[in-house]
């Protein structure tokens, strides 16, 4: 009796039917122990397959006979439309501030007129004597030359002569 039993790997190779050589086949014919081991494994696999097929069939039987295919073109078109809209919206959002600041080019003109007004005010303020009193300054400055022009200068002249 052959006591060199098939290894687990050899038994599995036999089950996979990949490289089951003549020696393995010959051994299986002779060795009941290895034959039983292989048969047990095959039985387990058959049980599993039977259960799997049965379960799948039961689940499938509980479902509609035909798959219902929803035309998938619309979601795809919608997706593209949304994708196209996003940059457009971003562009619009970016343009809004420019649109709102549209009248800004007029601002320098106003600024110029403001500046001119301020300059005028400065000029007016910086003048030592207001224009309304300017005539008086002329009188004072020329008062020493004409004594009759001012009673004040006249009285001064009178005091001096005494």
């Amino acid at each position: 009796m052959n006591t060199n039993h098939l290894s687990a790997w050899q038994q599995e190779e036999y089950i996979l039917q990949q490289g089951a050589d003549q020696q393995t086949l010959h051994h299986l014919e002779e060795c009941a122990q290895c034959r039983d081991a292989v048969a047990r494994l095959e039985h387990g696999l058959a049980l599993f397959r039977g259960a799997a097929v049965k379960w799948s069939s039961e689940c499938l039987a509980a479902r509609p006979a035909q798959l219902r295919f929803v035309p998938s073109g619309r979601p795809s078109v919608l997706r593209w439309a949304v994708a196209a809209m996003v940059p457009l919206v971003l562009l619009l959002l970016a343009l809004v501030p420019f649109h709102l600041s549209g009248p800004r080019p007029a601002q320098p003109v106003a600024q110029i007129s403001d500046d001119a007004l301020l300059e005028q005010v400065d000029e007016q303020v910086s003048v030592a004597v207001p224009s309304s009193m300017e005539s008086l300054t002329h009188l004072v400055s020329t008062g020493s030359n004409s004594s009759a022009a001012s009673p004040e200068s006249g009285s001064r002249h009178f005091v001096q002569t005494n």
Partner: protein, 195 residues
Amino acid sequence: MEALERLNYAGEFSPLRDRMIAELEDINTLCATYRSRIYRYALLSLRDPDLAETVTQDCFLRAYKAREEFRGDCSLATWLTRIATNLIRDSTRSRKFQFWKMANSTAVDAGAMADRLRSPGISPEISLVVREQLVKVWDSVEALPDKQRSVFLLRFVEEMELPEIATAMGLRVGTVKSHLHRGLAAVRKAMERTK
């Protein structure tokens, strides 16, 4: 038929590719042919009938939309499985799925399933052993990491060939084989505990 399809996958035969593209044009026929298969794969991967339905529907819609990209270098089933694999991966990464997974609300009661599978002619003792075995195997497959479980399901439920699984999962055949060995080791270990 399979040999004919293999010729086509190699790009040596175009009429079959044309036929597959024509099949892709008719979404209702496509669903009728492959719905149960894709749904089963999604259901076993996600353990949620509603989510599996959504994934199945999305899978056919995506396939229909991308029908121009189908090169015919694999079968339609493999191509659809690849699309479904990507959708399942996306679903399992979602926060909602993670939440419900944490809450364990999507777990399937393997025991109840075994009861439904019980044949009337089997004795209660044998039925009990079978029930226990199924629960162990089911739990061990559920406990596999996502990728390993997907590969396991495609091989042992959908009975796909290793190169087809590799194409559907975007893996190398060697990697697929490695995942399968790990999955089988887990199942073997689980079954040994029921002896």
